[in-house]
Symmetry: C2
Subunit: 98 residues, 2 copies
DNA sequence: AGGCTATGTAAGCAACTTCTTACACTCTAG
DNA sequence: CTAGAGTGTAAGAAGTTGCTTACATAGCCT
């Protein structure tokens, strides 16, 4: 979970995830979407995402295709849900006490 | 969202959130739970959490009481859900195509 | 083979994080 | 009022992150 949450904490990486969310994208296609930063920078972000299990990589000849891997967020989602549920529980208690 | 996700990316801060999840805790009570690190370190983590809107602070005489503020995770939860839903959508499509 | 395309890796630097110790502040209690 | 408890803030060290440029690797095409 730690790795996934640290990966997701970066806005560029979240943007990449939004992009690959709709289907596979090559490293180059992704890099093109970030004209303000160098291609290697994007490549490094992709590595972080892959290491965190947030994207899948597939070789396609010359290119590398990246796709979202939502399971990688399972534990993070669990944590957030656990925090979130507190609100619901509290709300319920508040309602019951009035 | 950025601030919340960066705050949550740290394991100590997540642990703090788990602790205040069940109700208010004073700074000192929280610091006691992290014997391996200094009290000021915990205090600094609490500040990060408060700045990110993930905890509420209340002064109680000499002490400061911290409580979880789950709304602070709303945007983060939204992001994760948006990624997550992809899986469901894909699954649905896969089922429909077979 | 040789050159071009697509991509990753290495090295290094600047900025940021997360600690620590030392200090300041603010209530409460006697 | 003074002492001590509870807590935040300041300054600085050490480690980590996120970039850049330069280089390496691997597949494709003529």
């Amino acid at each position: 979970m730690d790795e996934a949450l640290r990966a997701v904490a970066d806005p560029t990486r979240r943007a990449i995830m939004e992009l690959v969310r709709d289907g596979e994208r090559s490293a180059g296609q992704l890099a093109d979407r970030f004209p303000q930063m160098s291609r290697p920078a994007v490549s490094q972000h992709l590595r972080v995402l892959a290491d965190a299990g947030l994207v899948d990589v597939r070789r396609d000849g010359n290119r590398r295709m990246y796709a979202l891997r939502p399971q990688g967020l399972a534990d993070a989602a669990g944590f957030i849900e656990r925090m979130w549920s507190t609100q619901l529980r509290r709300l319920k208690e508040a309602v019951e006490n009035e």
